[in-house]
């Protein structure tokens, strides 16, 4: 691809979206894209994609710019920011479904629907920064995954602009639907490599009437995980986290590994569960209820080890999680019961140390029949490690074929996903 003059490109994109809506990248966006266009609607996205395809210009959706800044080796020529596409198209509380443009943030959506005691139950850190498009494309999740599943379980319809500037839709707005191939699954976790998501339809869920968070300190990780397992086996929980000593301190708990469990329901259920939890976690456990519990939940949700020079996510079968984390010798925030944890190191000696650590963590994850994704490295280590684990070869071959089918010209966020996709 020939080097292009940014101002010339800006002028050309300005002709599509208006000059006022083409801008330089801001902060973290600069590692993701050279210039940013802000289309008003799906038709403008279509025009942008048509132009990019005609002129072989690489593009990427900017909703997940923080993620792209990490995974992209170099910025794409143009970032598509959907900040202006933030309308709720249809919210049907009695059907428990919502259709919204992909530029709306998860936080804004949940603010709106909480008035009807409902929520889109996905809780990645900082929901005000996470657009619905990014939520889907980067498959963000949080502690609620234990009881509510992840985006793939909640997304019931999707619209995206694919190659040849086709506006494609899959699914619908009903909660149960098997008509046609499941394009929602294809787009979930595709990191902008198959097209630009413009609209999402989700099923939403009721917010439990009463909510309690229990927390308890344990002398070491083994006993904490053992207690978490007993809890998980005994009662239905909304979420179940085990955090390392340092993470516990950041969250405002005393310095030792903690189990933090959320549960809820009606008054009788909560009373019963509180007793059960006290019994299992022991007398040292604390209970926070309702408003206090929600505040604690927000701290837990927003924890993202933001000042650590290396953060990764390990995913293994749930029973393998504790042994794997013990081997990793890292700080961790574990979604116990899901087999997923974010792990981090507070300091790294240099690029070699970083590479050695990531390699070791990968081996541990593979040993536990799972895999490891690097979420974030400090700026000075950008491009020094492989961010995604490679799937086995036959699976990767199919993924290459999928990419070739959906993006034959290789324009959509190329060269940063698994296997160089």
């Amino acid at each position: 691809m020939k080097v292009r003059d940014s101002s010339e490109l800006a002028r050309q994109f300005g002709a599509i979206v208006g000059d006022a809506h083409v801008r330089a990248p801001r902060e973290h966006e600069s590692r993701a894209a050279s210039i940013v266009a802000e289309p008003r609607d799906a038709d403008e996205v279509t025009e942008l994609v048509r132009k990019c395809e005609a002129d072989s210009i690489a593009l990427a959706p900017m909703g997940a710019a923080r993620t792209l800044a990490q995974i992209r080796p170099t910025p794409v020529a143009i970032g598509i920011s959907l900040t202006r596409m933030n309308r709720v198209i249809a919210y049907e509380p009695d059907d428990m479904t919502v259709i919204a443009e992909a530029g709306l943030t998860l936080g804004a959506l949940n603010d709106l629907i909480s008035a009807r005691a409902q929520r889109l139950p996905v809780d990645p850190p900082h929901p005000d920064r996470v657009t619905l498009g990014a939520l889907v494309a980067a498959a963000h999740a949080g502690p609620l995954r234990l009881s509510e599943g992840t985006v793939r379980d909640l997304l019931i319809g999707v619209r995206f602009v694919g190659h040849e500037a086709r506006l494609i839709h899959g699914g619908g707005r009903v909660v149960k639907n098997v008509a046609g191939y499941d394009l929602m699954k294809v787009m979930t976790g595709s990191f902008g490599t198959l097209g630009i998501i413009t609209e999402t339809t989700f099923k939403v869920r009721p917010i439990p009437a009463r909510y309690t968070i229990a927390s308890a300190a344990f002398r070491d990780a083994e006993t904490a995980f053992a207690a978490a397992t007993r809890l998980h086996d005994a009662i239905p929980l909304i979420h179940l986290e085990v955090v390392s000593e340092a993470v516990a301190s950041t969250l405002g708990f005393s310095g030792s590994p903690h189990v933090i469990a959320g549960f809820g329901g009606n008054a009788h259920e909560v009373a019963f569960l509180q007793t059960q939890v006290k019994e299992i976690l022991g007398p040292q456990s604390d209970l926070a209820v309702d408003a206090e519990a929600s505040a604690a939940n927000e701290r837990l949700r927003d924890f993202d080890a933001h000042d650590a020079p290396l953060v990764a996510q390990i995913a293994v079968p749930p029973a393998e999680l504790a042994p794997c984390l013990l081997q990793c010798r890292a700080e961790y925030r574990a979604h116990a019961g899901c087999g997923v944890a974010q792990i981090s190191l507070a300091s790294i000696a240099g690029a070699e140390d970083l590479q050695w650590t990531v390699t070791r963590w990968r081996e541990i994850a593979h040993g536990g029949r799972g895999h490891l994704r690097v979420l974030r490295v400090a700026d000075e280590f950008h491009n020094s490690v492989r961010m995604f684990d490679d799937p086995p070869k036959p699976a990767l071959e199919l993924m290459h074929r999928l990419k070739a089918a959906f993006d034959p010209r290789g324009m959509f966020n190329p060269g940063c996903f698994v296997g160089g996709l």
Partner: protein
């Protein structure tokens, strides 16, 4: 509208094309260019070059193929006699029938792979089959002479209670999964009504649901990994026992692909803890209108029961005649509402639900007093389809979805369609999901009535779509609903879906001529399809 499923059959070769008028992107039309009722279907808007009609007597299943297959899987692994093959001429969608020329019953993945390699070398298409309980003609052979049945691949490979995972071969019967783990307080959540017979492989193909999917989700929410044999014979493992996937979610693309991506031979499933307690309520209404309004009232109150099922009067009477479950035969409709979860909270939930349904017009609400009463209610519900067999010589089960709040509207529309088409239509369905199953009664010996039954099904689907719904909630498109796909998907949507399918099956050998018309090429239907009594 083009019509595919109802295409009249002359007994000769059919050629199917889809023709799209380039000027009207959303309009799909049948374009007949041939006096022998050749239909043009071309999703690219380019008329395909007609290939020469192959001679029907020239089947690819010849003596040398049979000999090679016998070498691979032995005589006991294949069925060749026409009388035995007749068993496999249809699934639960009985409006259309077509026998395979040969049925293969491999014992393991290696055999499946060897078979598919051979078929691929010879460019012979195949149809995968689980238990044949599908309801949309998903395993009807259409231009695929070879049927491959997974029923002998029925081992439970491994149970990992600590991680709540179970690794099974795809021929395992759905209920056997739950039976294997229930002593440890676990279940496999998706519970289609056919769960005593249907297989996990079939469930994966159709993304099957069931009554309890309201709270627990459908098949795709419980499948984490698959081993699939691609149509070229390659064995690929996708996903695994972890919740996060590595790369694209190809498992999610395969679930619900109706056997068009290959043959799934093994699956890693999630297990769910059995709820501590249940309260099963029977709410009795004078009419369906109030019953469906009660459904919305429950959902709107923020209560998600394990299941909310509805039966109307026709079904109630059929079920009573068959099973004597104690349902009130004079009721216009009943709801079976099952609340599950922590025992301590159930009485409160049951009280609130009782109040809500009474306010919505229920005449009476009964609570199942014990497990025996609960079992009777569920038996009545899950066997309702069978009971309908008493009402008419034939019946067709439809499957449509509407937003839950539109249930009263769709049921009124169904009554209107029933009058207009002069047919009896009963309703038994997953009300909590808005997933309707109208049962259209007809007599296949009456050609006109059969036609009206097909038309009534279409009318109902159109009404669902007009209300913002979908063509199928859990039975799949199969052959039954291909003609209706353009009601909800644009030509571009369908092009992208067929591109997705080609990722797995570039030569279109896996269950061809299903879900969406084959783009850019004509399809020769090797075995003439016949419609019952048409």
């Amino acid at each position: 509208m083009f019509q595919f499923a109802a295409a009249e059959e002359s007994g000769a070769q059919n050629r199917l094309h889809l023709f799209r008028q380039p000027a009207q992107r959303s309009v799909w039309q049948i374009h007949e260019t041939d006096p022998n009722s050749i239909r043009l279907l071309d999703v690219f808007g380019i008329r395909a070059t007609l290939r020469a009609v192959t001679n029907a007597s020239h089947s690819p299943v010849d003596a040398s193929l049979i000999a090679e297959l016998r070498e691979m899987i032995g005589d006991d692994g294949m069925v060749l006699r026409a009388t035995e093959l007749k068993v496999y001429e249809c699934d639960g969608w009985t409006m259309e029938k077509s026998s395979p020329e040969i049925l293969l019953r491999p014992r393991n993945t290696a055999e499946v792979s060897a078979i598919l390699k051979l078929l691929h070398r010879r460019s012979i298409a195949f149809v995968p089959r689980g238990a044949g309980t599908g309801l949309s003609g998903g395993c009807l052979p259409l231009g695929a002479p070879v049927m491959i049945c997974t029923s002998r691949m029925n081992r439970i490979v491994q149970v990992d209670y600590a991680s709540r995972r179970i690794d099974v071969e795809s021929g395992v019967v759905n209920l056997h999964v739950t039976n294997a783990v229930k002593a440890r307080g676990m279940v496999y959540a998706p519970d289609p009504s056919s769960q005593v017979a249907c297989t996990i492989g079939g469930n994966i193909a159709e993304n099957s649901g069931g009554p309890h999917t309201l709270k627990y989700g459908v098949t795709t929410n419980h499948v984490l990994g698959v081993e699939i044999v691609l149509p070229d014979g390659e064995i690929v493992e996708l996903g695994g026992a972890t919740e996060e996937c590595c790369g694209y979610d190809l498992v999610g693309a395969i679930v619900g692909s109706e056997g068009t991506t290959g043959i799934v031979t093994r699956a890693m499933l999630k297990l769910t803890r059995e709820p501590e307690g249940h309260r099963t309520l029977l709410a009795i209404f004078a009419d369906v209108d109030n019953a469906t309004r009660a459904v919305s009232a429950i959902i709107a109150a923020g209560i998600i029961p394990g299941a909310i099922e509805m039966m109307d009067q026709m079904i109630i009477r059929a079920v009573e005649a068959a099973f004597h479950a104690g349902l009130p035969e004079d009721a216009g409709a009943v709801l079976i509402i099952e609340l599950d979860g922590i025992a301590a909270g159930l009485d409160d939930h049951a009280r609130i639900v009782t109040e809500l349904v009474r306010a919505a017009g229920a005449n009476e609400v009964r609570l199942a007093r014990d497990e025996a009463e609960r079992t009777i209610l569920w038996k009545a519900r899950k066997r309702a389809f069978g009971a309908v067999g008493r009402l008419a010589p034939n019946y067709a089960t439809q499957d449509g979805v509407v937003p839950r709040t539109r249930l009263p509207d769709i049921l009124r529309a169904i009554i209107e369609i029933s009058h207009r088409r002069n047919l009896r239509i009963g309703n038994v369905f997953h009300a909590g999901d808005g997933n309707i199953h109208p049962i259209v009664l007809y007599d296949e010996r009456d050609a006109d009535e059969t036609n009206r039954a097909i038309e009534a099904g279409r009318d109902i689907l159109k009404a669902c779509v007009e209300m913002g719904g979908s063509l199928t909630g859990e039975h799949g498109i199969g052959v039954e609903k291909m003609a209706e796909m353009p009601l909800i998907f644009s030509p571009d949507d369908l092009i992208v879906m067929s591109e997705l399918r080609r990722v797995f099956d570039p030569d279109q050998l896996a269950n061809p001529n299903k879900i969406i018309p084959v783009p850019g090429a004509c399809v020769e239907v090797a075995a003439p399809r016949r419609q019952v009594a048409l």
